[in-house]
């Protein structure tokens, strides 16, 4: 579905993304994790065409999309959400979603009814639909980001921290929704800091640290990966933890 090869993005003297490669198979949920500032959102922006890249190659469904315009990439079926939600503030929630729906539905009435349908799929109560997007809570805005992207009927969704700022119950809800979206045939690549969500949702995890992919694998392998633990907790942390465990044993 998506194949990123050796992608490098340089800001001035800083290599924000340094030769990152990853692959997302059809129908899977893949997570991209890493400490703050690792370059996850930058990598997302590069993949989706928001930032020009210095090196590397991005392929979507076998087609080279490197350097293509954002809207063309979106029309090919890869749509991103924003970590900092970017609603169309003065439009109602339904109108927000309908902007996405219009991608496939020319007529206004069709787009609005499709948008209603999508809202239901992401579990938005009908009462919310006529509210201006500016009045939504954090959880509501996150869900709107998801709904709007989903309304374009994408093949691949790039979700950037859709769980940040949500309470535990809301996280449980959104995990269920994401799983349902995948079961509906949409491949998902997500950035997430909420670890238990990452562990329960994803089938494959890539770990980014200082712009480099330092590890990848199944969730259970990642939690025991020495490099990953050190990336999060600092050098030597893995040994100290192992030592501490040894003493307890």
């Amino acid at each position: 579905m998506l194949k990123v090869t050796n992608l490098t993005k340089i800001f001035g003297g800083l290599k924000a993304v340094d030769g990152a490669s990853l692959e997302v198979g059809q129908g899977r949920i893949v997570a991209l994790i890493g400490p703050n500032g690792a370059g996850k959102t930058t990598l997302f922006a590069c993949i989706a065409g928001f930032l020009p890249i210095n090196q590397g190659r991005v392929e979507l469904l076998g087609q080279d999309i490197t350097g293509m315009k954002v809207h063309d990439i979106a029309r090919l079926g890869m749509v991103r959400t924003f970590q900092i939600t970017q609603p169309f503030a003065k439009l109602t929630v339904l109108e927000n979603i309908a902007v996405g729906s219009h991608q496939l539905h020319e007529r206004r009435a069709d787009a609005l009814s499709h948008a209603r349908n999508v809202a239901e799929r992401v579990g938005m109560p009908a009462a919310m639909l006529d509210q201006p997007a500016a009045e939504l809570t954090v959880a509501g805005r996150k869900r709107l980001e998801l709904a709007r992207a989903l309304a374009t009927e994408p093949k691949l969704l790039l979700l950037d921290e859709v769980m940040a700022g949500l309470n535990p119950q809301e996280i449980v809800d959104i995990i269920g929704i994401i799983r349902k979206i995948r079961d509906g045939g949409v491949t998902i690549l997500l950035i997430e800091h909420v670890m238990h969500a990452v562990m329960s949702l994803s089938e494959h995890i890539y770990v980014l640290s200082y712009g480099k992919i330092i590890a990848q694998g199944a969730p259970k392998d990642i939690v025991n990966n020495r490099d990953v633990v050190e990336a999060y907790l600092g050098r030597g942390a893995a040994e100290q933890m192992a030592a501490a465990e040894g003493q307890h044993a």
Binding site: V99, G100, H105
Partner: protein, 320 residues
Amino acid sequence: MSTARPSWLGHGLLLLIALAFPLLFSSPFMVNFGVLALFYAFIGQSWNIAGGFAGQLSFGHVAFFGVGAYASTMVQMRLGWNPWMGLPVSALAGAAAGWLIAVLSFRAGLKGSYFALITLAFAEVFRIVVNSVEVTGGGLGMLIPMKQTAANFQFGDRRVFYFIILALTVASVLLALWLKASRFGARLAAIRENEDSARALGINTFAEKTKIMMISGAIAGIGGCFFAQYFLYIDPTIAFGVDKSVEMLLVSMIGGAGTVYGPLIGAVLLAAISEVTRAWFTIQGLSLVLYGALLVVIIAYLPNGLIDLFKRRSQRPGSP
């Protein structure tokens, strides 16, 4: 949409009043007032579909107006075309100017106040160019010879002009109504609210913005043609003066930018203030002073424009 719109009955009544107006008030003063009000509504709508609907705030919309006025007058005076041909010519010229400014400034990624400033600069450049070349009549401008026949787009009865500008204004309102209910309009609203999100959802923001600038330019261009035929005289200051840009913008903002009827309300008010101050006082530019004061009050108390007074509270002009 969930929000109520003026009904067909409301539309019909409004149109009936507009049609009956010159028959009930046939004095030259009142007919002229009606023509001016509709003219402001028409060019205000031109600004509104770009600035209000698509969020592309232009301070130099007079550029399109002036290009239309000059294009139509020049094909008539220099090439000897029938004045009626000025209408399509001015529309094309306005659209071409819209395309030029849009492509140059959107390619450069200009948004918000930068876009506003570049449009202002373009209008000034156009003014200076027509002021300095021979073929436009230079600073003296062009006087269209008086020859009052319908074939010549001149009418002894000024009420004919009233009905022409009324038809044009109705067409511009229909266009605005269509925009509100179409995919194109929804995309423009998305661009106005958040361009990055619009792109992320697959909207070609550059193409959509260029399209609306061309449509808006065409309307303002036709406005320029009408103006030239109504007053039979244009010069660089009349055709490209900053004051007309300000008027287009104010008509829309005071009435309610981004709404279908906002420019109509703003236009009636602008025409009323301008005619009344001209009749009662001799101070030059007093109408603009009053209008500016009104704008301050409206921004403070009715940020969505006067149209809020006519709407229920639940209705928001921002929606497509």
